[in-house]
Symmetry: C2
Subunit: 227 residues, 2 copies
């Protein structure tokens, strides 16, 4: 019944547990055949009504990367204004590796793909974007198995990314990913945990049996962890 | 540099390529230790600002499943009204396995987790929901490696699901998953492809180099494939 060997099963879990959000990259390129495998892995994600709403825009030229980095720099500066106590900590975090990573990839969602009747996108209209996120995670895990690091940059103004990459107005940029070999390898723990930003929540606090349990109190804040 | 063996890497790709959206289940339960591993895999997804915004509501009692199934039946009947030409085809599709599957799981997104300052959820407010979707895909791939099938039911009214499962108003039900051993094993192809609903798009039509290429014309419609 279970058609994966124990070793195969463990390899899948290993990719899941050893995957990290990478922000520091070595400059050496990711070989074309590896990039092709990552993209094909993304394309084999589940999608609502088998609509496959994603497109993948590959960016490796310095000029375009610098334009995207400029957007990120302004979005990061804007976010920093929202912090008071942790403003200094925030300033120390490395939040993107757009320029250093040899490859950037923007994964988008086209809501017109397979429309008007996308099977299953009826009462939950956002299912196409959800499908696009599933494709991102396929790519991320495949990359980990290839020894390739991925970092998702969300400090961006999506409408500006759209303009820089000539993405049509009806198509939504969902994920902007930096891709390359991680400098110093894959960290043992998530970077934000290493830096003391937040802790991993005890999984038991997140699981509810039969219905929502209001007694659960998940908290990954560092204050709570150290008090 | 690449720390996965060839066999380990292939196992990860195998999970990605052999994963299916399952709607027909055997009644035998998924052992508790397997369920725990699936949930822990979900919990090790990347999340914006390491916020871990997901909760996991586990449902295995008949009464609750029937309440959810009633919601799905109405959402499916509503969707069918939108079809004209393919109304009959639509009626033949099996769209959910809520009752048959031994286990249902609702994965939610709590936007207050780690708030007010969730690192990276500034200019892209939906990053918490995107993170929740990444958790779904971790669970889905881990399940495949365990020989366990998963089907995402999107024919649901999320506000009704919230009510049935006592989920607080501020928490968003993102994914309702049916989980169990697939009846007849995992299909070779996606179910909707097998049923002639849509075709897989040629991946080359989805990849753009340097910026959006308007010449690409992805189309997975069956009309296009057979014309």
């Amino acid at each position: 019944m279970v058609d994966f060997t124990r070793e195969e099963r463990e390899a899948v879990y290993r990719a899941i547990y050893a995957r990290r959000d990478i922000r520091r990259f070595r400059p050496d390129p990711v070989p074309d055949d590896v990039v092709e495998r990552l993209i094909d892995a993304a394309h084999h994600a589940p999608s609502v009504g088998f609509s496959q709403p994603w497109d993948i825009v590959v960016v490796d030229d310095e000029e375009t990367k610098l334009e995207i980095k400029d957007i990120a720099s302004r979005a990061i500066a804007a976010a920093q204004q929202g912090y008071t106590e942790r403003k200094e900590d925030f300033g120390k975090l490395k939040l993107e590796g757009i320029e250093e990573s040899p490859l950037n990839v923007c994964i988008t969602c086209d809501p017109t793909r397979g429309a008007p009747h996308v099977l299953g996108r009826n009462t939950m209209r956002e299912m196409d974007v959800y499908s696009t996120c599933l494709a991102v995670q396929n790519l991320w895990l495949a990359a980990r198995a290839e020894g390739v690091g991925v970092g998702w940059v969300s400090f961006l103004y999506p409408h500006e990314v759209r303009e820089v990459l000539d993405i049509p107005h009806h198509v939504q940029p969902v994920a902007y990913l930096c891709i390359g070999y991680p400098e110093g390898g894959f960290p043992e723990e998530p970077v934000l945990q290493q830096e003391g930003w937040r802790e991993r929540i005890d999984v038991e606090e997140l699981v509810h049996y039969g219905g929502w349990d209001p007694a659960k109190e998940p908290d990954g804040s560092v204050e709570a962890a150290s008090d």
